[in-house]
Symmetry: C2
């Protein structure tokens, strides 16, 4: 089975141009089939403010009303995604920038309103893996921004971690998939106050213990829930690393040189 690497770069990497460039160069160097998924960062909020809108958040997630969705669409699909594509192309990586609407790649449904109305936020229903395979086989490198669609002419703002994890699950039958989450910390930390207290490896079993002890909490929980779901669906290995560590990881992918490695057991 051929290897497929899915790299997700978080919003904090998008917001740091030099770190982003370095991370993209490391991505170019990855051999075999690959997919890039990127988050949003602060540009959409900044653009909203310039346009006289007030960014709204609940529990750390953006509330996407119609005007905000327009801004998010411009910034994610037009500005950030295409800037990444042009930079990858310069380095000889045949990138193809996409939203979930393009090639009907990611079908989602608007999140039901419970305590909070997140507006046009979407939860993934289906990844179009047949078409994704065709695109990969054509030699293209898909680059996804965190937008999906509902198939009824509505874009939906969707978490990039979830896109990366679900895409890994969808392709696990066709490739030996590894997913790498690049963000601003060195890995999953034992002690949030100590940036170097990286937990080297987490299994499904040890994850339950870390949850019980309250060591893993807040924003890391959905990230790791996503990750272990993908592992259960056949993804081989998942890395959670600092964006700057992508280069080293390439050189010694199985060496555990840095960051946190997640495996089923």
């Amino acid at each position: 089975v051929n290897r497929l690497t899915i790299v997700k770069i978080g919003g904090e990497v998008i917001d740091a141009p030099r770190q982003l460039s370095k991370c993209l160069q490391s991505f170019v160097a990855i051999s075999g089939k690959k997919i890039l998924v990127h988050g949003g960062g602060k540009t959409a909020s900044q653009m909203s403010v310039r346009l006289g809108l007030t960014p709204k958040f609940a529990q750390g997630r953006r509330i996407t009303d119609a005007e905000t969705l327009m801004v998010v669409q411009m910034v994610y699909a037009g500005l950030l995604n295409k800037n990444i594509v042009a930079e990858l192309q310069m380095s000889g990586c045949n990138a193809l920038g996409m939203t979930g609407a393009d090639a009907n790649m990611i079908l989602a449904e608007k999140r039901a309103v419970k305590d909070v109305d997140y507006g046009f936020a979407g939860d993934i229903k289906e990844i179009n893996s047949a078409m994704l395979l065709k695109i990969l086989k054509a030699g293209l490198v898909p680059v996804f921004c965190p937008l999906t669609h509902d198939g009824r002419n509505q874009f939906l703002n969707t978490n990039a971690d979830t896109i990366a994890a679900r895409m890994g699950s969808a392709l696990a039958d066709s490739y030996a998939v590894e997913v790498i989450f690049c963000f601003g910390k060195k890995g999953v930390l034992e002690n949030e106050a100590d940036g170097n207290s990286v937990i080297a490896g987490i299994t499904k079993k040890s994850y339950q213990l870390l949850l019980q002890k309250g060591i893993i909490k807040d924003g890391m929980i959905p990230k790791l829930d996503n990750a272990f779901q993908a592992l259960s669906n056949g993804v081989k290995k998942i890395y959670i690393i600092h964006a700057d560590a992508l280069e080293k990881l390439n050189q010694k992918i199985a060496g555990g040189t840095s960051g946190t490695v997640l495996t089923l057991d």
Copy 2:
């Protein structure tokens, strides 16, 4: 040889939502392989003004400085292109929105500064027809916004008529190509003041006469120059029609029901 239809929709169609929807529905109904190329319209200028920038034009063409390019990229690639993709997907047309940087599809070079400095305006060097053929064969319908790249991490604003014509030329060896330019008039007019004075057919020879008599002038000259270049390169037929006429044209493609038909002779 299989048929390929390239439809270009002008900025004035983009600016009229109901006309755009009708035109997209007609596009969906076209059988065989197809490509959509769209212009920009007024949204980019409106967005520039909202962001405190002053849109600049010379001889009817936008002057694209760095800040304007950012706005154009957001509006063309993020807003307009993706809105069209989502609407086509709703109608079961497997659209894939692209700039010229995506899949390295359109390589261009920055226009040399002569009388006017158009800024980041690009003239097409090469269409990546090999990859375009792969994408068409995968069953996808490429939708291009009027942005190209120089392969060195620079987007360039590029005329959508030229993109459609050059794409037709590039694919004329592989398909029987027809190009349809949809805009706000009924065709090429004999008398600009009379919207119904449509010239039914123009050949390469009669085009020269119309130019000499001054009947074809201004903005129509580059449009028709592009068109006859494409015909010389092997494109079978080119239509210049009102956006509302695309539906009728589908029903009777060779009937000359409306608009202007261009042929070599």
